[in-house]
Subunit: 204 residues, 2 copies
């Protein structure tokens, strides 16, 4: 079966976004990351910044989060919490993007949302904490929190969000066609392997 869509789920700081970007470039297909956020923002009425910050996070505060409904939107949310409302839009946007043609989608539980599309290759990328801590400081700079607690916090949120909306375990190998430890294999090599997988699937 030819693989046209590639979803990349990733631990924070593991280089999953860079892998996705490289794969899209080598295959000459669109890479959806920022575009995904913009589209969800457009369809939800929330700002891109709000979607960026809340889209993959824990729905634990969803009861309180009705308060964040954007102007003019509450009626449209049909009694859903902000998190559930965003989730519905996220599902629609991702399903529509996949319909448009070959692409790479990073994060946003796209592996689950597209689980019934057989033309999709599902990837998970992880690395040890040392590699990731070093990487986030290099890419995003220092912050008042330690790199370790930034990693723990973000991973925990992604995990809880994934569990809540999919009923599956985040990072369980069985959810993905391939998973990679980028800390050991390196980002460039991982991209090369994924590109080879996609090309082989197209030869059959």
């Amino acid at each position: 079966m030819e693989k046209k869509i590639i979803t990349i789920s990733r631990q924070f700081g593991s280089g999953g976004r860079t892998v996705g970007h490289q794969v899209a470039e080598k295959l000459g297909i669109p890479f959806y990351d920022k575009e995904l956020v913009d589209q969800i923002a457009l369809e939800s009425g929330f700002s891109a910044k709000f979607v960026e910050e809340h889209g993959e996070h824990s729905p634990g505060k969803s009861l309180l989060s009705y308060a964040f409904a954007p102007q003019g939107i509450p009626g449209v949310m049909n009694g859903l919490s902000t998190a559930d409302f965003l989730w519905n839009i996220q599902c629609n946007v991702i399903l529509q993007l996949a319909e448009k043609g070959p692409c790479v989608i990073v994060g946003r539980n796209a592996d689950y949302i597209l689980k019934d599309r057989e033309d999709t290759l599902h990837i998970f990328v992880h690395a040890d904490k040392e590699f990731r801590a070093d990487r986030i400081v290099r890419l995003y700079g220092e912050s008042e929190k330690s790199p370790q607690s930034r990693l723990n916090e973000k991973d925990k949120r992604r995990k809880v969000n994934y569990q809540h909306y999919t009923g599956r375990t985040w990072g369980d190998a069985k959810n993905y066609d391939v998973t990679f430890n980028t800390g050991m294999l390196g980002v460039d090599y991982v991209s090369d392997i994924i590109v080879d997988m996609v090309r082989r699937s197209q030869e059959k």
Copy 2:
């Protein structure tokens, strides 16, 4: 870091054993599967058949299993249950084999036992139930149990055994350098990728 040892953990019927065999053959290094069982049998005093059947299984009946102690062995077991006694020997045998030189080791929680050796590449292999059910019937024949229940039973035992002795989750991507869905990628292609990973690590 040069990778010399390859551990392959696998869902029952996913082709992990075949992958391991192919990798060992292509790299010209020993493949430990049956040999591992024989060595554990030799050092424990149990029969190879007993080790084969109980080594990766649930330790749930360990209190009862003192009854299985082989002739002349009870004194040597130092009050350990059969499962714990076998586990200790399994750890020693695997650590010794890894010391001997490059090799491929299939199953037996070798990924955990060798987690502190940086020259080890850890692989997990899985596939969907349809692929695996078809494969076990083809390779091992029909039995009175349905293929589905044979898969469920064996996977559950491996999972419980792994959790009990390692405190980790079986099949969690983060325990392995790479995981593969052989049902999607095919056994031969997966072997090729692993061989390439090992060769690249040796070039550095």
